[in-house]
């Protein structure tokens, strides 16, 4: 599968030294193992380079100022020329580090023409009311559609409104273009354990017995296949609520998918609600389940009182 990156998810206002973020390193490493190819549209590359060059210039200026200060104070030092220590990162090399195949994609003439037409006519996914005729986003959209059409599917990672808004749903669905707003969402899609997924698993393990007792046809041993859309709400004693869409393995090897909502009080899961329970895409006997597990979880003890007191002191309350 081709995975197309928009510039906004790579955007950094500081100079990247040796590596992209841990999430990206993990994503590229997974892509390498699964044989996926990373596509960097030329637009993304140019925008990344521009932002990095700005950071490089700022850092160079800072170093020159530091040298001037040392000189003005007659402090001896060995001058190292800024280009020797401050270097512009090469995006392609950074991606390649994980071993994944990466390609820079130049827009075709057809991509340009179609993007140009949509920008001028304010056609989908361009917002009809938008004043700015954002060609760059539409060009990336055209490249992503082209790859999805060619291969039967593709992933676009972007937070840009043009790419993620529902106006593009029909067109994306028709060619199998899957859109994610962050690299973490793609990791969840690939069933890679994210920090949020790990936390959900910590919460599920103590209540596995309760799920079995409620009649869910699950494996005897905890068998979590994937966690998606995890969300938590913080309380004063730790996490107070947790939500996610989870996929579990049944005892006969099928896939059980359900939404889970948990209420946690002082590190005890007090309420558990399962909704839209499906087994291999078919609704289960019960549409939903509500349980009162009353099971303790072992999460880090919260130090909220100390932190809020410290903040109050700062504000002078």
């Amino acid at each position: 599968m081709k995975i197309i990156l928009n510039s906004d998810i790579l955007f950094n206002t500081f100079l990247i030294k040796n590596n992209l973020s841990k999430n990206f390193q993990e994503l590229f490493s997974i892509c390498q193992k699964k044989g996926h190819v990373i596509i960097i549209p030329l637009t993304t590359l140019l925008e990344f380079d521009r932002a990095q060059l700005e950071s490089l210039n700022t850092k160079t200026l800072k170093l020159e100022k530091a040298y001037m200060l040392l000189e003005s104070l007659n402090i001896k030092f060995t001058r190292v020329e800024p280009p020797e220590v401050i270097k512009k990162p090469d995006l392609i090399e950074l991606v390649k580090k994980s071993g994944v195949e990466v390609r820079v994609e130049n827009p075709t003439n057809d991509d340009y023409l179609e993007a140009h037409k949509r920008a001028c006519l304010h056609e989908c996914p361009h917002a009809p009311e938008k004043k700015s005729d954002e060609m760059r986003d539409l060009i990336i959209w055209m490249i992503a559609l082209r790859y999805a059409q060619q291969d039967g599917n593709a992933i676009l990672i972007s937070r840009d409104e043009v790419h993620v808004n529902p106006r593009g749903d029909n067109e994306a669905n028709s060619v199998g273009l899957i859109r994610f707003k962050s690299e973490e969402e793609v990791l969840e899609y690939f069933e890679v354990e994210t920090p949020a997924g790990k936390l959900i698993k910590q919460l599920i393990k103590p209540i596995w017995e309760d799920l079995l007792k409620a009649g869910l046809p699950l494996n005897q041993d905890v068998s979590i296949v994937g966690v998606a859309q995890p969300r938590f709400i913080q309380g004063t004693e730790g996490i107070s609520n947790a939500y996610c869409l989870i996929r579990l393995r049944t005892f006969d090897g099928k896939m059980l998918k359900t939404n889970i909502a948990m209420k946690i009080d002082n590190n005890v899961i007090v309420e558990l609600e399962l909704s839209e329970i499906m087994i291999d895409e078919n609704p289960w006997d019960k549409k939903q389940l509500a349980l009162l597990p009353n099971k303790a979880i072992s999460l880090e003890k919260d130090d909220y009182k100390e932190r809020i007191d410290s903040l109050k002191e700062l504000i002078g309350e």
């Binding site: 950094n12 206002t13 500081f14 973020s21 841990k22 999430n23 993990e26 700005e54 950071s55 700022t58 800072k62 937070r159 707003k181 962050s182 973490e184 994210t194 920090p195 949020a196 936390l199 995890p230 969300r231 938590f232 709400i233 913080q234 309380g235 004063t236 107070s240 919260d302 130090d303 909220y304 100390e306 932190r307 809020i308 410290s310 903040l311 109050k312 002191e313 700062l314 504000i315 002078g316 309350e317």
Partner: protein
């Protein structure tokens, strides 16, 4: 309010650093708190490097993502003291012992006194020393 944050001395300012509508404060242990002043009442979002009670969040590598009504709005990286906007259209902000970085601009060793806001960051840029923007909730918790 008087405090030292990211090597700046803020003296008699109401809000030392305003990131969009969010007041950013650093306690004596170096931990950041964020308070959204964009509504009728001040809303705590981060207290001492951790999500505040009632706030929807999800952990990410080295940090956590804050949500508003189901939409991710920004990520905070506690180790790096870095705020990265997702849906706020604001430049990244980072505090270290020796500077405050806003996008690619760096503030270091300044004294800001007698103003509503020490450093105000908006989607269009930033200002050092600014009056308190209108319609902000009072900074009380």
């Amino acid at each position: 309010m008087n405090l030292k944050m990211g090597s700046q001395v803020f003296h008699d300012v109401q809000i030392p650093l305003l990131w969009g509508s969010r007041a950013v404060l650093q306690d004596n242990q170096g931990r950041l708190s964020l308070i959204d002043l964009g509504g009728d009442k001040a809303k705590l979002e981060i207290v001492g490097d951790k999500p505040a009670p009632g706030i929807e969040f999800t952990p990410v590598s080295d940090g956590f993502k804050i949500f508003n009504k189901g939409n991710p709005i920004y990520i905070y990286y506690p180790e790096e003291k870095r705020l990265s906007s997702i849906d706020l259209e604001l430049p990244e902000c980072q505090l270290s012992e020796w500077e405050i970085r806003v996008g690619s601009n760096v503030f270091s060793g300044n004294v800001i006194a007698g103003l509503g806001v020490g450093i105000a960051v908006t989607k269009d840029g930033f200002a050092m020393g600014a009056p308190l923007p209108p319609n902000l909730a009072k900074l009380v918790i």
